[in-house]
Symmetry: C2
Subunit: 475 residues, 2 copies
């Protein structure tokens, strides 16, 4: 079965779907809007999970698990929350052959049921902070879906914390935003802009939402993680109260933050090319693929022996040996390029004779080098580090080149047609709505780092503005 | 809040719930039959997952993820399967505010939807075997629930494989049964009996089901894992076909196998005592708790300095230091005993002065030894290994002592009232039903290891019997 990937320039969206299906990351499920994550995609997701989970634990968080089903009445306790999520709910009305007295919602997010439990667990200031994360599936009924980016069911992590003060909750909210940015840049090689969401774009029930925003290969934005300061909204709705040091009852302050498998879609779109996936070494299921090349049985024995030695030397590297007989070396080169393996090692009989191999980088087409076998244990990890850094740098450069700083509405319209617009915005929702209506671009976030510039004039209405926002068309 | 655990002798079932709630493994959820796994319980579950996942990968399996929702029509494709699961289904009838045309079932197990996908992925014998596992939540509407053992929603893993021949499928079925037994005995310190399920107890849709059965502290049985040879039942229902080496179309042979968080309940019941949990070192979230003891500030500084050194020396051990000021050493001893930490290290000022600490084993009441600090890095891992082995051996002894070999129906009735009965059974479902009706004991399994005995007489009807079965009351 010959595999063909639509070129990005021809149809970016088709390219994305082709890459995901042909690299066997995922497949469409026979349930509307749902997806199957295939083993290669799941191995990538496992590495993403590990990278995040390690960071959560290093910042004092623990994992737990809360129920899939939430009584409908729970959602109704927080007015904005239920309004935001009602249109997206999947509802269980029958259980064990009987109609349920109260319908159960399949969790779209878990602030409500976790809030209910926290109200029982928190008694005194000594119980705070509560710093819990869960890895779970959630369901949001989506009209238009796209593999990984927007699916009815998706896998994610959701952190839910309770603090004694506003300040601590705010500190946590920003800490987790930093954790997400650190993961995105250092593990996924995706440069991100950390910022505050506008009122219209914030999470239903939050006081303030923050996000990390990344630029995809087609210059559109993708929100890759969010962190919310929920104020006392859920604490009041669910009665999360604690006795403070003066023995007075206080409401807690809560946060929530989440990253889903959509970040896997971002990895595809930020780094991929017309040959397929390009995976950052830290996340790649296989960091190195070894393709042994032989014609005769004699050659085969020699080459496979050398292959075994090379694999054994690469102790801390995730190595795949592709010694299948039914495919040619050329076919294998294409296959593993399409699957984005960062480094390929080619070993042929002449290489074995002189004790060397050919190393080919996936991220730079045609970049091949010849390395003595005795050097591989040192050189391969080095090259993986270089590839990881280069991928981040290239993505950073791409984002920079395609970010504009329009000062007039005309310039802004031009900018969002071809990339990100970093523009002064007065904060008026009407200006935001106008841009959205006329260009389909939305405010992605108001960057925390404003670049040291002072106040200016709103690029839309010309009124005074204290901050700049990122406007872009988004996934 | 003083914690009290009901003694096992008074009310075993209450003891079990007390231990789980007070050790903060889990809590009841506000949704009927559902449960919240708290951080300490989840850390235990993570270790269980790791132990199993490592073994799955070592036997060539990979992970993937399939959808939560299954079209109702899929379940109906396999007649026995739908009959078995229909009474337990949770059904989504509304999505995105609209009534669905076809109701969606929340997966009770995933043979059907995975079978549907496999039918698309399998083309030729070269694609076989498919060896996929998924970690997921499933839902079965249960009338009477019990924490971890029987909950409406539960976490588990389900392996689903496709093979070219019956023999390979059977080999896989038994391989995974061995993997489960290996995990149960070596990580969970739970001795298990591997065996075949009777026709009436097998999985709905399987040709043959196998299980591992363990004896709990109240001498009842618990099925801790199952492995099914599904024959061609699901391959035919979902059209999983492949071209064989002769280019002829053949149906595949499938297996499925699963372990859920119920095995965590088994860990509680096999090892726990009236003080609470006793956790096997390989699974314990904390293998060692260090309790520093001081009265004056001077002593505190010395003791905490030594505590730091001890913790630093125990590099490959999961160590918790409990240096909280608001609790007394005695309170902490009780707390961590209740939570089942295998080893406690006590460090007081006199210990520091002479360079030693006190080590207390959780599994043997009153077992304390004095060990030089300089020896700890060697002795602690040793003791953990000893504890792990001793726990398995004690559980094995307990199982042996409470397993009887009745030859008459009267003896069998007596045996199942006080433990396991290993008895000849002719295989007639009527004999099985009679035992169940009159004693509530069921056939747990027909052990693969029959102990080298020949044929005998059915303990129930006296007819000829070729095999012995385990009869017991079960969870």
């Amino acid at each position: 079965m010959a595999k063909k990937i639509t070129p990005r320039s021809k149809d970016y969206s088709r390219w994305y779907t082709d890459v995901i299906q042909q690299a066997e990351l995922a497949d469409y499920a026979p349930v509307k809007g749902c997806m199957v994550v295939r083993p290669y995609g799941y191995a990538l997701w496992e590495n993403i999970k590990d990278g995040l989970d390690r960071r959560f634990k290093a910042t004092g968080h623990v994992n737990a698990y809360f129920p899939l089903f939430i009584p409908m009445s729970f959602l109704q306790k927080e007015a904005e929350h239920v309004e935001g999520f009602s249109p997206e709910l999947a509802v269980v009305t029958y259980g064990g052959g009987k109609e349920l007295e109260e319908p159960l919602v399949v969790r779209p997010t878990s602030e409500t049921i976790i809030g209910h439990m926290y109200a029982q667990w928190v008694r005194s200031y000594r119980d705070l902070p509560i710093l819990i994360n869960q890895w779970a599936n959630v369901v949001r009924w989506e009209m238009r879906t796209r593999l990984f980016l927007r699916t009815t069911e998706f896998l994610w992590q959701e952190g839910h914390t309770v603090h004694a003060t506003y300040e601590e909750a705010q500190e946590e909210t920003l800490r987790m935003l930093d954790v997400y940015a650190d993961f995105a840049e250092n593990d996924a090689a995706i440069p991100v802009i950390k910022g505050r969401k506008s009122e219209s774009e914030k999470f239903a029930g939050a006081d303030t939402s923050y996000s990390i925003e990344a630029m995809m290969g087609d210059k559109r934005a993708l929100q890759a993680g969010t962190s919310h300061n929920l104020g006392q909204n859920f604490a009041r709705a669910f009665e999360i109260k604690y006795l403070d040091q003066n023995n007075e009852l206080q409401y807690g302050w809560t946060t929530s933050w989440g990253v889903s498998w959509r970040i896997l879609g971002a990895v595809v779109m930020v780094h991929g090319d017309d040959q397929g996936l390009v995976l950052p070494p830290k996340l790649a299921p296989y960091q190195v693929v070894i393709v042994p090349i032989w014609r005769s049985e004699d050659e085969k024995a020699q080459v496979l022996e050398a292959t075994g030695r090379v694999k054994a030397a690469l102790t801390d590297v995730r190595v795949k040996v592709d010694d299948r007989e039914e495919y040619s070396p050329g076919w294998k080169f294409n296959e593993w390029e399409m699957r984005g393996v960062p480094l390929r090692i080619e070993i042929g009989p002449r290489d074995v004779a002189v004790g060397q191999v050919v190393l080919a980088r996936r991220d730079i087409a045609g970049d091949k080098s010849v390395v003595p076998i005795s050097e591989l244990a040192r050189r391969v990890p080095q090259m993986l580090t270089v590839i990881q850094a280069d991928m981040l740098e290239r993505a950073r450069q791409f984002q920079k080149e395609n970010t504009y700083q329009p000062t007039t509405y005309e310039e802004l319209k031009e900018a969002v047609a071809k990339g990100f617009a970093l523009a002064y915005w007065c904060g008026d929702p009407e200006c935001e709505a106008k841009v959205k209506d006329e260009t389909k671009a939305t405010t992605r976030c108001i960057p925390l780092d404003q670049g040291g510039v002072g106040p200016g004039r709103c690029a839309i209405c010309g009124k005074e503005a204290t901050e700049r926002a990122i406007f872009a068309r988004a996934y």
